[in-house]
Symmetry: C2
Subunit: 407 residues, 2 copies
């Protein structure tokens, strides 16, 4: 059984956190000793902190003592100097914590192509370190410190009750624009007090990220800085010993996916300028890739996103987006339904328009006025594969925020 609990990363035994935010510039530190795994952006332009963290985890046997993350400057496309700065961040807190810098994860988010203000960061380290704590409030400060255009801090934690004992998984994340993660979100730091080997952590994390962070789209831009780190403190005493489909591994995977999915939805809902969350499930696909392609194309489509912003019952755009997604299907077999979670309206059934009268379109309009819109499409191929993607509407405020970001 899985149950939501409070406290974010600090809900997990062995984790301390804190953060500070001064204007555009924020800094969070999370300490937690344990086996660890990471997934990172697939952008060819990789930010310096991503390079440093990846190398650390690849060469240190999969272990972290702490994570340091700054907001306001991405330290991306900054060349040798950027690498020096990212290493300096690691070294600076490693010294103060009395650990080797190779056990530090470094993350950055903000403007690309600007030199990091390393002195500012060192100053903020001195403010944050003495305040590290295992409290809900400390978690909140860390969440806020990594926000950029985010309006809402993002954290989630669960407790899993299993026959082997209880364990917890908690995480925080930030992300609002430049969001179509290709294997991480902007930044997410996740912790568990289960005891898990780093190879098992890596496998579980990859699988969970695939179904959660990789299924959200705000604007289709994949960041240079995406990173998701998972650390297991082992403090609960529950040991996940095997990859194989033991029920305990499944319970761990399930708890991890639950946390990542909630964080992913929070990111999509807080997409830059967004007023609504879109959840799109595509079923009846031949392959999972087809289901993923169609569901993501729908939540990525600027035309679908603007229609949802304006409560415009222009559902043809949803069908068109599936059509160009690359997914294999026959238009004469598809089924489309939209709902607000309570009321639903059938728009297409087995390729035939259900009803396009004013009453149907009015009902659709009222459904589209909800805060969360559910789109359900069945491709009707005879295949059984399914996927769910999350996105948000495209609004005046998205344009406003991004037409004037650096200045």
């Amino acid at each position: 059984m899985i149950q939501e609990i409070k406290g974010g990363v600090c809900a997990v035994d062995g984790v301390k956190a804190f953060g500070v935010k001064e204007g555009k510039y924020g800094l969070a530190i999370i300490t937690a000793k344990g086996n660890a795994a990471g997934v990172y952006t697939k952008n060819k332009v990789v930010a310096a902190p991503v390079i440093v963290t990846k190398e650390n985890l690849e060469t240190n046997g999969g272990f972290l003592e702490a994570v340091i993350a700054n907001s306001g400057n991405a330290n991306a496309f900054t060349g040798e100097e950027g690498l020096k700065d990212a290493n300096a961040m690691a070294k600076s807190i490693a010294e103060k914590l009395g650990v080797d810098p190779k056990y530090i994860g470094v993350a950055s988010t903000g403007v690309i192509g600007r030199k990091l203000h390393i002195d500012k960061i060192k100053e903020q380290i001195c403010t944050v370190l003495p305040n590290l704590a295992a409290t809900e409030k400390a978690n909140d400060e860390a969440m806020k410190a990594i926000m950029t255009t985010d309006l809402v801090p993002k954290g989630f934690a669960v407790e899993a009750q299993t026959s082997a004992g209880n364990f917890r998984v908690g995480g925080i994340a930030k992300g609002s624009g430049m969001i179509e993660p290709n294997m991480g979100t902007m930044l997410s730091f996740v912790y568990t007090d289960a005891e898990v080997r780093s190879d098992i952590l890596h496998s579980a994390l990859k699988e969970a990220v695939q179904k959660t962070f990789n299924m959200i789209v705000v604007d289709g831009d994949t960041s240079t800085n995406d990173m998701c780190l998972l650390t297991a403190t082992g403090k609960s005493g529950v040991v996940i010993q095997s990859f194989e489909n033991t029920s305990l591994y499944e319970e761990f995977q399930n708890a991890l996916e639950t946390v990542l999915k909630e964080l992913a939805k929070k990111i999509a809902k807080d997409g830059e300028g967004a007023t609504k969350l879109i959840e799109c499930t595509v079923a009846g696909a031949y392959t999972e890739d087809d289901a993923i392609a169609a569901s993501k194309a729908i939540v990525r489509s600027p035309l679908v996103k603007t229609a949802i912003f304006g409560n415009d019952p222009n559902w043809g755009r949803i069908v068109a987006a599936a059509g160009y997604s690359g997914a294999d299907f026959d238009q004469s077999k598809i089924t489309l339904e939209m709902s607000d979670g309570c009321n639903s309206v059938s728009l297409v059934s087995n390729g035939k328009i259900t009803k396009n009268d004013d009453a149907t379109l009015d009902k659709l309009k009222s459904i589209m006025a909800a805060e969360t819109i559910f789109i359900k499409m069945d491709l009707g191929t005879g295949g059984k594969e399914t996927a769910t993607a999350w996105g948000c509407d495209l609004t005046y405020d998205y344009v406003k925020i991004n037409a004037d970001y650096t200045t």
Copy 2:
């Protein structure tokens, strides 16, 4: 030598046109007897008129007598009834022109998933047919009749002077939203008075479309109705006899590409809500596909598009878009420059930021205030491949237009 001339499609001998626009609903007819070729949307959801036109050209030996195009309703996702309506459009003008309906091209643009008002169209056919003419004014009426959210009618024509004699190529197009053609634009009708076999026409059209219409992005949505038809009336007496690299075929290809490129740029510039045209050239790629992927990713990126709208000198987003495009390159080798056609500013040279001081960013801001912004990136791979893509900025008006389209 190629020279711009007036008159759009009516600049070509053997072509008559006219159109009518009443509120949202418009109808254009173009008559021209000759060998013909078409390219169509690759969207899995294919509109009825695309199906009918494609079948006509595939079974009639590649020949057209006339094209009929309506705006206001896409006749897409309309099932058997939609096919009946598209065929009725063809039959209705075929009867009046005294030709076989299989020699008619049918095209539609507008809302998806709504039944065509075939009676309205028949009424408009009666208005348009008696007014068909070979004049510039008649061409203008046809251009206007196919517009939907377009603000500007789009036509272009050239005369090519060759040793074998002079010939002309003229075309019209419409398109403003749902624009990332995957082999056509929304709608484009192109004519030449050269005499060309339909297989040669098809080959020339495919090649030209690849470098022009397929290189524009307004919002990344590929329409269900994209279609580009090319008809050769042969009236100039200039005969293009071969595919091979004869200089005459090259001159024809060149004239055709010139017309299509101008139409493509007009579509990008008139993108929904757009205030600026973006031309992005990516050079130094290993493969042409890499150059295409990178240049299109840059003009497609909502973050690049909003930054250009707001004159925000946030050039890191351009580098990031190339990074996630799938193109192969090393970030330490790239070069980036932006210009307004007169003044230019170097931002990155061989992977190093040229200068990021206030003077550079201010110069970049003033360049970004121009009506056409040129982005030049060299991937520095040692490869020689290059590609140019066109797009537009993303503005409040794009959101406004699309949040309230059907209502």
